[in-house]
Subunit: 147 residues, 4 copies
């Protein structure tokens, strides 16, 4: 599953993506931000706070899912035409290790960009004592809707 | 897929589940609460706030996923033995309609309770103008860990 | 997740579905047949043969998936307009018990029928000593394509 | 999601995997064979026959799923200890392009090998006119059972 390089169809893709992300109240209230954005790729980081925890004090699986979903959605949205919206059709996520640490990084890339549907894949890593380790793997389907 | 009735293996299942939920910083900070809890079943409600929104002002898909994941996790945890913990192995969620409304309700039930793994299914409904409509369907795997 | 009743949009839905199924070489070669077909619902049965087994002599998980996928696809296709085709976008399947027995029954129903995308859910039961027990649960997304 | 190299825990891993695959009646009757096998990796090929088709004459999505499931299962099983069995807990597969061609290749690798659960990822490519193109992406959970 080697990474392909993708050519965006909308010259203003970056502004469009960043404006959409800025409108996501959920990302702002969690404290998430985009730390890398390229055609077909998006990385979102989220520092730990107790407000994001599950019952053992680790990051909540649902919170991990929220940033993985947004990273995938915006990775796909970089390649959408102008005047389109992105919605998540579905995703599936495996949690492969407890998300115990200082910060999460969700990195998503496009697997296939279709006219209607786009498929992305994302990994989520947790940073502890300066070291990143894999804690989740996501596979997602997006749909492009006309504005 | 008719609902079976399940007999809990731990007489203190309800206290155990409610104490675990109370420790989830994420559920408290989102504003989610358990509104129904029975052996093999859990319902979680979440009123809308702009802090939970995606870019169109609807509930964020990741936030829906967070309460669906918790509802499934606690539906399963009602049936776990004493002195065990619950972790989500994976889940998959389909978003079938935009989650535009005043409140979300995630209702989960156990499909199969095994010694190690438990499978749950959950629906998420959104309430608008007093009417509930289906917005998501989730399928989840849980693992029981000894304390 | 109560069953809704669905009104087909194509008066010739049943002929269309049965003709499509008859063209699936894979279903014929496995020995699968449709045993119930209604708007929004499809049931497929498959008798056991050693040619369908995994390493322990039970039905192979992939074979279960094949009939669950077809049952879901045709449940959805009953509700498609005339002159459309159905393709599977994705599915997810949990295997909740070993599929040891004489026959499999995959029963699927439509969760939501959209213009472009349709979501279905299916259960697979295995019959042993005259008794059916649940062995898998599937959640699926379909797309309607114009002929 | 870079590939890690994995050290097998059972010196006889290759014999164990090949003997298990040989017992899968389903793989033999489909005509599938293992074409690459390394610790944490397995590739399975399947030539086209009309008996494997869906209604348009392409490979059936369920057949794709069957070989992706087996490739993932045996990629994981290479790393299992001696005297264990492998079962699929669940998988999720996205079909990103029609599987029209002469042969399928499912290539799986282990994402995380745990004591009880193992997570794998697989791609399926279809060969047409001598060129391979991606047609499906799978994510899978396996469980190790003592013999």
């Amino acid at each position: 599953m080697s990474m392909r390089s993708y050519a965006p169809r909308d010259p203003h893709w970056e502004t469009r993506v960043r404006e959409s992300f800025a409108k996501q109240g959920a990302m702002a209230s969690l404290g998430a931000r985009i730390t890398a954005l390229n055609p077909g790729e998006c990385t979102i980081e989220l520092p730990f706070r107790p407000e994001l925890s599950q019952q053992h004090g680790f990051f909540h699986a649902g919170i991990l899912s929220a940033i993985a979903d947004s990273a995938g959605g915006y990775a796909g949205y970089t390649l959408f035409p102008a005047r389109t919206e992105v919605l998540t059709v579905e995703f599936k996520i495996n949690f492969v290790a407890p998300a115990e640490g200082d910060a999460l990084t969700a990195s998503a890339h496009v697997i296939r960009a279709g006219r209607t549907l786009t498929v992305t894949s994302a990994t989520v890593h947790v940073r502890r004592a300066g070291r990143d380790s894999l804690c989740a793997l996501m596979q997602q389907t997006l749909i492009a809707l006309s504005d």
